[in-house]
Amino acid sequence: MSRLTFFLSEAYRALRRNAAPSLAAIVTIAVTVLLIGVLVPVLDASGSKTDDVRSQLELKVFLFDDATNNEISNLQDKIGAIPHVENVEYVSPAAALKILEDRLEDKSLLDQLNSNPLPPAFNVKVDNPDNLESVQTALSPPDSAGKPQPISAAIDEIVTGEQTQQIREVTGAVKILLAVIAVLLAIASVFLVGNTIRLSIYARRREVEVMQLVGATNWFIRWPFVIEGLVVGLFGALIAVGILFLGKVTIVDPLSDNFALVENLNTISFGPLIAALVTGAMVVAALGSGVTLRRFLRI
């Protein structure tokens, strides 16, 4: 117990006596945490937006106009049984016309039609856009001559959206990019914080030398530094969280009232984000202090 108070008072003394390096470490951590605090929601939101776009990719199976109800319901069951198919939705010609009508600005165009030209169709949703091809192949497996033959005579045509391939490539690239940014940011943060801590410990290597000289064990020397790291991490993170909170209140919240895009952001909420940032900063700073000290503790 008296040990603990000794370590705490040593850490407090060090922080007070080495105000400049401690402040530098606090500011470094604050900046890093702020950066992560802004980028995590942004990366998270763009990631989920990308997933959103990808999940909308689907197959359309157009049927002949004369397909019977019996054929249609049989086919619906068949398609639903194909692996990776998540959902099969039947769109009747009337329903298709209604959708078209909603999309058109000049509704009078439709009045010029005598009859409904739209065929009945299935919208096939797939669990993962990467499986679109295998589902398509299952719907019309190639015959002995290598020509695709639909599994049902009622199928007129199978269409994957024109841009499916493009969207898949772009969103895939975006996901990789986001992952790379996140990893680089994490590495940069650890190095930045580690380097700052190393500098402040380097300034005190003489102190460590004297401690070893009078026979202090390595952990006895290390504890005050670890506690100091915890405190520095805590203060740095609190400053960053304060700025983040101000930013949320003054910028993000008013925006989300006006823009659906911001409002719909499907991202981590503020509370858990702050908890993660504060804990992360404290752990990194404390570990950084303890590990950096190893270099100076070699007997």
């Binding site: 008296s2 040990r3 000794f6 003394r13 006596r17 003489r206 102190e207 030398e209 004297v210 401690m211 070893q212 000289l213 009078v214 026979g215 202090a216 064990t217 390595n218 006895f220 007997i299």
Partner: protein, 284 residues
């Protein structure tokens, strides 16, 4: 390096065998046997050096820069390990010692350096107290012992000053107080008077002599030949990593007390008696 260490361990085991007989007396506090230290890069710090120092001795280690004096100190603190040979402190082979035991070794050896190695952001009291805090001394004991030792070294009035408010001689006294506060059986002083003027140096030597009179073995490394010759203590001279002189007992009267010692050295060095004698002179 690792192989060399294993070899030295084997040798240590062999040499320990005769010790199974009951020993007539306590082992020497410091014992080097054929210790060789080669630095990475090929510089030979010590070459087959054998030195034995008994408890209670006051020994000077002299020689020019680079002769192996500092290597000797570092071997005893296990800052370095010999390539071959054994280093024993209080009969214990410290090269067999595990790393985690090294702090325990250092607590039993007081060290004093030319540059004092005081912590600039702590008061005199805190600098000395730190040596006791490290070994887990209760606070009440620290509060009792630190002022006592500071009075003994003559700094009872400067207990709350910071090191940069003290003269060089006073700083060295603080560092001696820190080294001696836990009453270790061995005190190593590496050029303790290297930065000090002759009169201050004599005061420091007198203090070390006083500590020696309490039974602590004192080893002083220095290149101040004049001081050494006048002090008439055992002198071990190193040159190029080898012992070239080991002049021991018979040179001095063992029953000389501290003030007699100071007066004699002063007169032999031609330094005037100081007006401000240490206030703790009667303690020992």
């Amino acid at each position: 390096m690792a192989r060399a260490r294993t070899r030295s361990r084997l040798r240590a085991r062999r040499s320990r065998m005769p010790e199974s007989h009951p020993r007539p007396q306590r082992p020497p506090i410091v014992e080097l046997r054929d210790a060789t230290m080669v630095y990475p890069g090929g510089h030979v710090g010590l070459e087959r050096v054998s030195i034995s120092i008994d408890r209670g001795e006051f020994v000077f280690l002299v020689g020019p820069t680079g002769c192996g004096k500092s290597t000797f100190i570092k071997l005893l603190l296990r800052d370095l390990q010999p390539a071959s040979g054994t280093v024993r402190v209080a009969g214990k082979d410290i090269n067999d010692m595990s790393r985690s035991k090294v702090p325990q070794l250092r607590r039993r050896i007081g060290t004093v350096f030319q540059d004092f190695k005081l912590l600039p952001n702590r008061t005199v009291y805190d600098n000395v107290a730190y040596a006791l805090q490290v070994i887990g001394t209760p606070r009440s004991e620290i509060k009792r012992q630190v002022p006592e030792i500071l009075r003994m070294v003559g700094l009872g009035a400067k207990i709350h000053n910071y090191p940069d408010e003290l003269s060089g001689g006073e700083q060295q006294r603080v560092s001696i107080a820190r080294a001696f506060v836990s009453h270790p059986p061995l005190l190593l002083a590496d050029e303790p008077t290297g930065n000090l003027d002759p009169e201050t140096s004599i005061g420091i030597m007198q203090l070390l002599y006083r500590i020696n009179r309490t039974g602590t073995t004192v080893v002083v490394v220095t290149h101040d030949r004049e001081m050494v010759d006048k002090m008439r203590r055992r002198v071990i001279q190193l040159y190029d990593g080898r012992v070239i002189r080991d002049q021991a007992a018979g040179m001095y009267a063992t029953d000389e007390d501290t003030s007699e010692f100071g007066a004699r050295v002063r007169s032999e060095l031609g330094v005037a008696e100081p007006d401000d004698l240490d206030d703790g002179g009667a303690v020992l």
